[in-house]
Subunit: 324 residues, 2 copies
Amino acid sequence: MYDWKDIIEELNKGKTFMLYPHVNVDGDGAGSCLALARMLSEMGKECRIYLGDELPAYLSFLDCPFFVMDPLGFSAEVAIAVDCGEDGRLPGRLDTFMATPVRLCIDHHIKTKPFDVKHIMNDPHASACGMMILDLFRAMGRTPSKEEAEALYVAIITDTGCFKYSNTTAETHAAIAELYGCGIDHSRLCNMLYENKPFPKIKLEAEIIKRARFFAGGKACLSYATQEMLDMCGAVPGHSEGCVDILRSIEGVEIAIFIKQQQDGNYRASMRAKDYADVAAVALPLGGGGHVRAAGCSFSCGLDEVIDILVPAVEAELARHTDI
Amino acid sequence: MYDWKDIIEELNKGKTFMLYPHVNVDGDGAGSCLALARMLSEMGKECRIYLGDELPAYLSFLDCPFFVMDPLGFSAEVAIAVDCGEDGRLPGRLDTFMATPVRLCIDHHIKTKPFDVKHIMNDPHASACGMMILDLFRAMGRTPSKEEAEALYVAIITDTGCFKYSNTTAETHAAIAELYGCGIDHSRLCNMLYENKPFPKIKLEAEIIKRARFFAGGKACLSYATQEMLDMCGAVPGHSEGCVDILRSIEGVEIAIFIKQQQDGNYRASMRAKDYADVAAVALPLGGGGHVRAAGCSFSCGLDEVIDILVPAVEAELARHTDI
């Protein structure tokens, strides 16, 4: 489906590869990298997945020696940004990335900034980067192994919210049917992903719900998690993953905003739209990015100030749709 | 895939049809009946879907004149039990069903009892009855309309727990890809089904999580909702539906217990097992009932006493599985 010629040439030519998922790695970033790393490894290449942060607990079952937090002197000829399309999402790793002779990018986010790489494959219509990696397998004439297919399944099911999000298409379901054919154990994966929640995470979710506030006539819902709340619940940063979706699932809510304090004390907001609003239009002018129905941005100010910036921006976006 | 010859003959021959989903109608029963009713209607037949109870709130968006709670003198030549394979699941409607000259059955439950019908199509391996109805469309050379495909989508996504349950197969996903081709608006349907939660329900869930307590080394988790908690959250009794599943989804939990105060002040406990425990074995000696992984029982004593009865009973059940 895509024209992979240039990228395949680099995959065949290179001997050592370093894959870079975006910071705050999620199921799509980790799963896409893992499938690609396994494929490269089978091709006789040396490969690492250089993480910007630890795998979140709900993905820890994917952990394996490909994932590193420190390259420990491993120097790659080819760097591939996977599920990551801009400098800003490689904090702490950008120097290593830029120092690599051949840089490639495979990504499905909306491209807003130039990215200094040799070849780029970007499809913002792909429901997950894992869909693109599966297409790369096809283009290379390779059938994913069970392990590769399971990594791609994790990538796709997490980035489509269990196939519920608007980014899900007939192709998504056809791809999943194809992955079943590779022998995946989807029950085991779903138990790991969805029936294995650490209690501190559930407690944190309850605290976040308690603090939910509504505005724009109930069309917007905002909540947050501070480091203090995380500590109180015994939660780790990955535990707030998915909280924005709980807020979005509330009756009448069109835009959900979840603000999370980062370990450096700053805040990051995740936004989700349900049906018609464009949260990328809210995030982009604030220096953030993302998709129409899922976007985010970072702030270096206090929580009250973040809320004071976001509330009118979200109200303005909702006001554009008064006909609905 | 199935041999529909006998059933198709009856569909072509009959002029008036009444469809019977099982009592406590769910997404599969309602969606399968609706798709079939629309198809029969397009064939020029008169058709009703005779419900044993009202459509639950989360399915109310499917409501249309096919659904009736009272046939009001409508007498059908052909009765079809859909997603329902035994007498016991037609309380209040069995006489009408049995009085119909031609009785058919299309169902995917495990058959344990005889069912007095002319033709039966039963496949316990089908992930939803909706999968079988889609196959009937194919066998009749009919492409589902958008409305029919949407009804089938609701049937399949609800009975497979968003494609997470072990009954999901490659065929399930291939069928969904086919339904996308019929023009379904899956985002709208998923929003109606999953993104439309009353805030009082979510608030109640948070309160229930706050009160969760663990025992048996973390293998059992218990929580409760009193009438006072319901009032505090502005919740109605139906809002605690699914709370026991939240408790079950916690890491390490094998048995989840959710105790709910009834409107008469008494308590009812719902229990769920995740993997290996038998909660029917806990409920039965206490005068309750259910299945191995989902059971319940009622009490006419105070909450503390209920807990004092249940904790040792659950501990004893878990102690039977110390080899795990």
